[in-house]
Symmetry: C2
Subunit: 392 residues, 2 copies
């Protein structure tokens, strides 16, 4: 009865955890949720009222498929691109999905980092793409060589590489960023071998230390599709993101979007545009950055203090996540039952690995919980891990 | 570079007209827009404020993929189904698209009425479906026979029929409804030949005369997927609809939706749920029905008065559209230039016909414009048509 794609669908293990437990009743390092404390309710209420007064019925009518012009202009200005290159998406997840839809046929290859964002892997698999993951390496020559090897292997199989999917800023799940040199190197490979790059950067504006690194899009705006999101800097409940790309690519995304959902949510777009224009978004973003930096620092110090020997973790300069590696032999999926029963949730790292490796890894989110709950949660998780690791 | 699907994408001619002219500066019978006069701005503003007070940050956080429970429950109650059978969609266009995605492989057959909804045809074509249209016939035996002939033809070609797409209530574009006998007959054919029915019913609640006819879903809830929309009864700018279906089908839609956009817009869902619960939606719907009935009656009387001989039209009991048939040889696409230059817009009927027939037909919307503009617009259109039809 169902289409062939359906056999390749897989359920988000994150969303399955959310079905199993109430996030608010446990210690949850699982989701990629911003803290609800960062949503400026009074300012949102005020902005909504202003939007209704300014735009009246237009704010509730059908809108343009490309998005509300005020929002496209605000995004274009923020990113220094022309408005013709901006498509508003109904979430940046839709951005990922629609890029895959317009670029990938079953069996085509998508290159990704390994680990990579679960929702992207879900979308890629649903189109029956052949996903090839490449682990990060600190030495850029070895890193380049690893990509070249995979690319040459794919070409020797007679397959087409459609795009490289990258989250260069504070990656989900690892929290790590690509250096400028690494970004340039990957863009050069894309040029040389003739594939596109989908640069997914929802965390870019959440930097807690260090200097901004130019986007991959800025290195080559003709072959990089840049995806952004309001979900981490404003409110995920609005489901708004954007795609910035060469007009020829954007045109296919636009026509596809007509039949996907006609247009993004209109009222939400006016509110987001007004939040940007008025400077409220930036003011709120500063507050969020302060809050999240504190939580990241706290989490790092707690891990240092409580984690058993043999557990390692990344030190992200921004974003919402860090990534833990336990000793070889540890199985983070098996460990779910112990953890959830005791009241603490995380996401097992193997789900982020296209080849199912990384069984001894897990992703921890530090944005969602209060500092108090982070503290108690780490102590609990560390106690459970110590028992597990020492036992084995 | 692009996927094979892309070659089958086609641009919505309606949205292309909107790009060419400003709807507010001309007489537009083109869109399927509700009147912005029906959006109860003060009540929306009040409801939004209540939602923020009641739910706080939760209204702006990520939500469940199936939709916000309060809204699922309100839809379930309104339609007398269990909440497990309700999936909130990010527009009913998404409902159509996701049904096609989970059911149809390239070359699979979708049966539709001819004419049928353009956005559905767009979606079906984008998945490279083989669309077979069947014209409506007033005699039910001939109508049944026409379907059986097409079905037998498809089966003789060794192809699979995945579903029948139907808009039984005040169809877009014709404005006509299926009788209860016709609905039963089509459900029986679906059972006999083993295909599903996608029942798309965004206009169902906009009835201006006559009695409600049971949904096709109520005739067989196991094989009919019912799609509904808030766009015609509340506000299209919220982009919210619903799918009601057998849990096994709904589960595939749910998993697909995870990778499409994670969840529908959350704040908008809380507002819609509160609008339903408080009775505000029904009160507003009564007002809308009164308004649209007046516009329909006006349009029918104007057509009677001004249209040249040889032009026929449907008499819809509800919805937003009626359908005009001009004498053979008239070409409604060619006539665009004359009409748009003179300042009046419609949609040419051939775009609604899967086989490109119906060149002498056009769709007229009566919900969007004021009564004054409808009056002037019909007079203008009739004058242009008279010149064209007499000239030829």
């Amino acid at each position: 009865m169902f289409s062939e794609d359906v056999a390749s669908f897989f359920r988000s293990p994150v969303r399955e955890i959310f079905k199993r437990v109430d996030l608010n009743s446990i210690y949850s390092f699982a989701g990629g949720y911003p803290s609800a404390d960062t949503f400026p309710l009074d300012e949102i209420r005020k902005t909504m009222s202003e939007v209704i007064s300014t735009y009246g019925g237009q704010a509730f009518q059908y809108g343009a498929t490309q998005g509300v012009m005020q929002l496209r202009e605000a995004v274009a200005e923020r990113y220094g691109v022309s408005v013709e290159r901006v498509q508003i998406t109904s979430s940046s997840q839709q951005g990922i999905d629609v890029c895959t839809r317009v670029l990938v046929d079953p069996g085509d290859v998508i290159l990704t980092s390994s680990p990579s964002y679960l929702g992207a892997l879900q979308s890629f698999r649903s189109y029956r793409a052949d996903i090839r993951g490449v682990a990060h390496m600190n030495d850029i020559d070895s890193f380049r060589e690893a990509y070249v090897q995979v690319i040459e292997q794919v070409l020797s199989e007679g397959k087409k590489i459609k795009f490289l999917y990258m989250i260069p800023d504070f990656q989900n799940p690892s929290g790590e960023s690509l250096t400028f040199g690494e970004r340039k190197m990957l863009v050069e490979l894309a040029r040389r071998y003739g594939f596109l790059i989908v640069e997914d950067s929802p965390y870019r504006e959440l930097r807690y230390e260090g200097e901004d690194i130019p986007t991959m899009y800025s290195i080559d705006p003709d072959i990089v599709i840049h995806l952004g999101s309001f979900s981490k800097i404003f409110a995920p409940g609005f489901r708004l993101g954007w795609a910035i790309a060469h007009p020829e690519i954007l045109d296919k995304i636009y026509v596809c979007k007509q039949s996907l959902d006609l247009c993004p949510p209109v009222f939400d777009q006016y509110v987001a545009a007004e939040f940007l224009r008025s400077g409220r978004l930036d003011a709120n973003l500063s507050r969020s950055i302060g809050l999240y930096k504190g939580k990241r620092d706290l989490l790092l110090s707690l891990l240092e203090k409580y984690m058993p020997r043999g557990v390692r973790w990344t030190h992200p300069e921004g974003g919402l996540f860090l990534f833990l590696t336990m000793p070889e032999g540890f199985d983070a999926v098996k460990f779910y039952d112990t953890a959830l029963d005791a009241g603490v949730a995380y996401v097992a790292g193997e789900f982020f690995h296209p080849d199912g490796s990384g069984k001894n890894t897990m992703r921890m989110n530090f944005s969602f919980m209060t500092e108090e709950k982070i503290t108690e949660g780490v102590q609990l998780l560390a106690r459970l891990l110590r028992a597990e690791i020492v036992d084995n």
